[in-house]
């Protein structure tokens, strides 16, 4: 369980990334965060694994305030949270297996990982994860030989190998074309259901959000302006999130310039 309690975050340059955020995410939920660019979606997500550190309030994960974590506590926390990035963030020159097995770094001793002495079961797990996203035949290819969608699947496999309790995905499909986007979202959803991993995803497309989410959180200017199940999303919700009424275009997330 993840609990944001009055969380605020002010960037060093004074920008308020998060304002007074109060959100509780239960285990196994599939939550999608939507909002305009700069609304604070990334900041929200990155707070959870402390890639950024909120400056006020408290953030509990499994009833423990992670804001005071440092060093090895932090690494342990991150070990149980998997993260998927917009640009996949694979090591382009390493092969797929090596990228995926990097998911086990948090569980592997430093020496062992430097010498590439993985446990058999780790390699097995990595292979299994690749199979789950149907990309096992690319195992020895270099990451930069793969298409965008394939790279994102590898990055999902990396997260799976990590065996996390939580998965964070920061606009995982923004660099992908629509069919591939759906593929990737489908895999995320499947994993969420099969393994009961709490999943939090940032998206631009509100209709895609509605299709996959259990629950939608709308953000605007660092604040949570909507929080509820998909069924509760109404015209008013759009108004709150985008600052105006819903139009046909919004179904593709679009807006003509007035």
């Amino acid at each position: 369980m993840i609990e944001f309690k009055d969380v605020g975050l002010v960037y060093p340059n004074g920008t308020e990334g998060l304002k007074n955020v109060n959100v509780t995410i239960k285990d196994g939920e599939f939550v999608v965060i939507v909002g305009l660019s700069g609304a604070g979606k990334s900041t929200f997500i990155r707070s959870i694994n402390r890639l950024v550190t909120p400056t006020s309030g408290s953030l509990l994960i499994d009833d423990d305030d992670i804001l005071k974590y440092r060093g090895s506590d932090l690494r342990k926390l991150r070990t149980k949270i998997g993260m998927i990035f917009q640009n996949y963030n694979l090591v382009k020159r390493s092969n797929v297996l090596k990228n995926v097995i990097a998911g086990r770094l948090g569980h592997t001793g430093t020496i062992r990982s430097i010498l590439s002495l993985y446990k058999k079961e780790d390699v097995g797990l990595a292979y299994e994860s690749l199979k789950r996203v149907n990309i096992e035949e690319k195992i020895h290819n270099r990451a930069d030989e793969l298409s965008g969608g394939q790279q994102q699947r590898v990055s999902i496999a990396r997260v799976l190998t990590q065996k996390p309790n939580y998965i964070l995905a920061d606009e995982p499909v923004a660099s992908l074309d629509p069919p591939t986007s759906h593929q990737v979202m489908t895999y995320l959803k499947k994993i969420n259901k099969e393994d009961n991993i709490t999943t939090i995803v940032n998206l631009h497309f509100i209709d895609m959000a509605m299709e996959y989410a259990d629950r939608i959180i709308g953000m605007r200017a660092g604040e949570v302006v909507f929080d509820g199940p998909v069924s509760k999303v109404t015209e008013k919700t759009f108004e709150e999130i985008y600052g105006r009424t819903i139009r046909e275009d919004d179904l593709r997330g679009g807006a003509k310039e007035s």
Binding site: N95, L97, K98, I101, S116, Y118, K120, E121, V123, G124, L125, Y127, E128, R132, I139, H140, K193, E194, D195, N196
Partner: protein, 271 residues
């Protein structure tokens, strides 16, 4: 909701790299290490002393360089200036000559294969010639003086610069070039509008890098009568005025640092 336990049988556990790659990389690795060990043995076989006094001996010599006699610096300012001037001329000429050569030796700009290969080979050969040989040959051609020194620096810099810059050109984003072509630009316009802005920052920093190299290469040039700070340093060493030599080294160091500082500032301004 079954968490899949990975099946751990041998067959499903793949190796990190394909066996072939593994074998090849291992082989290369051992050849390199083997050759290194051989080289170490080979180069040490005539060593008599061992390492016992190595540091002590070095210490004795290093001590002789201290304290540096900084009072000579005003006197060596002239040759230092001469060195800088030589480096400026050589770097400028090399930078100008590099432009066509680098374009001709970049595969993505010069699509005519024989021309590309020809220029590339020429540059590779230029790069192979030791600076000392260049200096000696040019002294043979032009007689002693600044001119052969500058010529040697030009050729020497040209080899390095053209290689570095042609590699930069090969790495640029070709899309804007295509856009310019689609807008009806001719080759020169395309290069000037789409290529030049992309390589300019790298170009500047490489040119300044070569400038720095040229300042240091002047030590070699002093040996063939090209003048400059290298000659003075050499004289001081020959007369066993080590503290003076140290002062000159410090001066060269400071000049190099200043160039580096300016180079960083310029790069920041351009990027």
């Amino acid at each position: 909701m079954t968490k899949q336990t990975p099946s751990l049988s041998q067959t499903t556990t793949p190796s990190l790299y394909p066996a072939k790659t593994k074998a090849q990389v291992t082989l290369i690795f051992f050849i390199v290490i083997g050759f290194y060990l051989f080289s170490m043995y080979w180069t040490q076989r005539k060593m008599v002393g061992g390492f016992g006094d190595a540091l002590g001996n070095m210490g004795v010599v290093i001590e002789k360089f201290f304290p540096p006699n900084l009072s000579v610096i005003p006197a060596v300012w002239d040759p230092m200036a001469q060195t800088i001037q030589m480096a400026i001329i050589a770097t400028t000429v090399a930078a100008i000559l590099t432009i066509p050569l680098a374009l001709l030796s970049a595969q993505n700009i010069t699509t005519f294969k024989p021309l590309y290969a020809g220029v590339r080979t020429l540059l590779n050969i230029l790069r192979t010639i030791p600076d000392l040989v260049l200096a000696v040959v040019f002294v043979g051609l032009f007689g002693v003086g600044l001119f052969p020194g500058i010529m040697a620096l030009i050729i020497f810099s040209l080899g390095i610069l053209a290689k570095l810059i042609s590699e930069t050109i090969e790495a640029v984003d070709m899309n804007p070039l295509e856009a310019m072509r689609a807008a009806g630009g001719n080759t020169l316009q395309v290069i000037y509008y789409a290529l030049v802005p992309q390589v300019l920052p790298q170009f500047t920093s490489f040119v300044l890098y070569v400038f720095e190299i040229n300042i240091r290469a002047s030590v070699v040039l002093g040996l063939v009568g090209a003048g400059g700070i290298g000659l003075v340093l050499d004289q001081q060493l020959r007369f066993y005025n080590y503290p003076n030599a140290m002062a000159i080294i410090i001066l060269i160091f400071v000049v190099v640092l200043i160039i580096e500082y300016i180079s960083n500032k310029l790069r920041e301004a351009l990027i």
